[in-house]
């Protein structure tokens, strides 16, 4: 099924402001939160869809990329960026060396010949973490399929580790020139494929590539405070370079999973806790969970209304590579009691009979409704 437009998912227009996007997200997230929709299995997928849309549109850079390229802006896949090496299937890379070609002559180098020992490709690894793991940080062990220097030829690609020789067709330039009337056009050398060197006796282990495929296991320190989209660079842990060239880098892209209790917005955490009407009316204490697995007692003021947020300082997510932490916001949801006994019903009716100015919000609302109706009649 085609992926829905992020703006449609959030129900906002393309020109919506950051505040409008944030407001739309919070409304949708509240309505679709799995805790509120236990009987609706589709809501979880919709909740994720809304979260994904908000993740993309809240970040100015991601938003700009999405506005320009749509979903294609984030479809990097799991392969790699293929910097330097050039991906024959990548449309854009067909022209990636245009500037090298244009000015290579005048910068003291020939671009193709410079690829004799080329840098290895960068690799991307997507790592999913729970919110707790993002809170604490963790040591992750990852297995990366990549290319490493061939042990047999020491990465040279030549049998017995012999040095490659200059290509006889292009004299090591990596390009051959063809005369087309007045013009002279350069083409990649067909003998050495632009490398400028050839290997007379290729290494049988790596077929002359100088590197072989191998899974590598790495231990990576994921710092506390990472969020979806955080990128960790491990220099030199990408693919091995060609024929002794330097290795590329490994980029770990973090994706933090949704949490069943806590919702994250930057460094702040949000948790919705139900409270009884008696606690809401009389005040009291509730026990609130914290992401470190602990619990903390929170004082509920008397007369609190549903939706009231109580802030717990520094109980949010830690700052990535910094000090301090965000806050934890407890959102109170006053719960209407169900399955009342006869006695409870009597008490509530008695309470209703005694009620005097106990519902200021309701009274204010109905007085505004009254004014509205009077205005309609008078019009």
């Amino acid at each position: 099924m085609a992926k829905r437009d992020y703006y449609d998912v959030l129900g906002v227009t393309r020109g919506a402001s950051d505040d409008e996007i944030k407001r739309a997200y919070r409304q949708k997230a509240k309505a679709l939160h799995p805790d509120r929709n236990k009987d609706n299995p589709a809501s979880e997928a919709q909740f994720k869809e809304v979260s994904e849309a908000y993740d993309a549109l809240k970040d100015p850079q991601k938003k700009a990329a999405y506005d320009r390229f749509g979903h294609a802006a984030f479809e990097n896949g799991g392969g790699g960026f293929h910097r330097g090496g050039g991906n024959p299937h990548d449309f854009a890379s067909a022209f990636s060396d245009v500037f090298d070609d244009l000015f290579g002559d005048f910068m003291g180098q020939r671009s193709r010949a410079g690829q004799r020992a080329s840098r290895g490709s960068d690799l991307r690894y997507n790592l999913r973490l729970s919110l707790e793991e993002a809170y604490r940080g963790r040591q992750a062990t990852i297995t990366v399929p990549s290319s490493v220097a061939c042990d047999v030829c020491n990465g040279t690609g030549a049998e017995g580790g012999a040095e490659p020789i200059a290509c006889p067709t292009c004299a090591g330039m990596g390009k051959v020139r063809a005369q087309q009337g007045f013009f002279t056009v350069e083409r990649t050398c067909p003998t050495c494929s632009g490398r400028g060197q050839i290997i007379k006796n290729p290494c049988t282990s790596c077929a002359g590539a100088g590197r072989v495929r191998k899974d590598r296991t790495l231990s990576v320190n994921i710092p506390a405070g990472v969020e979806t989209g955080t990128r960790i660079r491990l220099a030199g842990e990408g693919e091995a370079g060609l024929r002794g060239g330097p290795s590329g880098d490994l980029y770990i892209f973090i994706e933090v999973e949704q949490h069943p209790i806590f919702e994250r917005d930057g460094q702040n955490l949000y948790c919705r806790i139900p409270v009884s009407i008696t606690t809401a009316a009389l005040g009291g204490e509730i026990e609130a969970p914290t992401l470190d697995g602990g619990r903390t007692r929170v004082k509920v003021p008397a007369g609190v209304q549903s939706g009231k947020q109580l802030r717990l300082r520094s109980k949010g997510m830690p700052a990535l590579r910094g000090t301090g932490a965000g806050d934890l916001y407890i959102e109170l949801a006053v719960e209407t009691p169900v399955n009342l006994s006869q006695r409870q019903k009597e008490l509530l009716r008695e309470f209703e009979g005694e009620a005097r100015d106990n519902h200021p919000e309701g009274q204010d609302f109905f007085s505004r409704v009254k004014s509205f109706w009077e205005g309609v009649k008078g019009a």
Binding site: D67, R68, F69, A94, F95, V98, D101, L102, D105, F106, R177, Q179, Q180, G181, F182, F183, T184, V185, E186
Partner: protein, 113 residues
């Protein structure tokens, strides 16, 4: 049959060209001589290139390196036009839907919002 000229003949045919300048342009790979009977010779297109090089040097007060750069850029523009033609031919062979998407993407890249 292609006519080839010796160094002396080329110098005589091209205004502003000296033997030293000719050898400098040859070393810079602006022109490609062909060896015939033990002598370096130049075909007619190479003579035309040398004529343009000397005109660039004279008209625009360029040194040999500057003139060589301009000629190299002229060559590369020609090569890029060929590449673009190849690409255009390849795109033209695709179904209409693909061509339409490529045109839209190209327009978006050229005129970003």
């Amino acid at each position: 049959m292609t006519v080839h000229y010796t160094e002396a003949e080329v110098v005589a045919r091209v205004d502003g060209l000296t033997v030293a300048r000719l050898r400098s342009f040859t070393a810079a790979r602006c022109v490609r001589p062909v060896e015939r009977e033990g002598r370096q010779t130049f075909a007619e297109p190479e003579v035309a290139r040398l004529r343009l090089l000397c005109e660039l040097a004279g008209d625009f007060d360029l040194d040999e390196e500057g003139a060589a750069m301009v000629l190299s850029l002229v060559d590369q523009i020609h090569g890029l036009r060929q590449e673009l033609r190849t690409l255009a031919d390849a795109v033209a062979g695709e179904p209409e839907e693909v061509r339409r998407r490529i045109a839209q993407r190209a327009a978006g890249t050229r005129f970003p919002e």
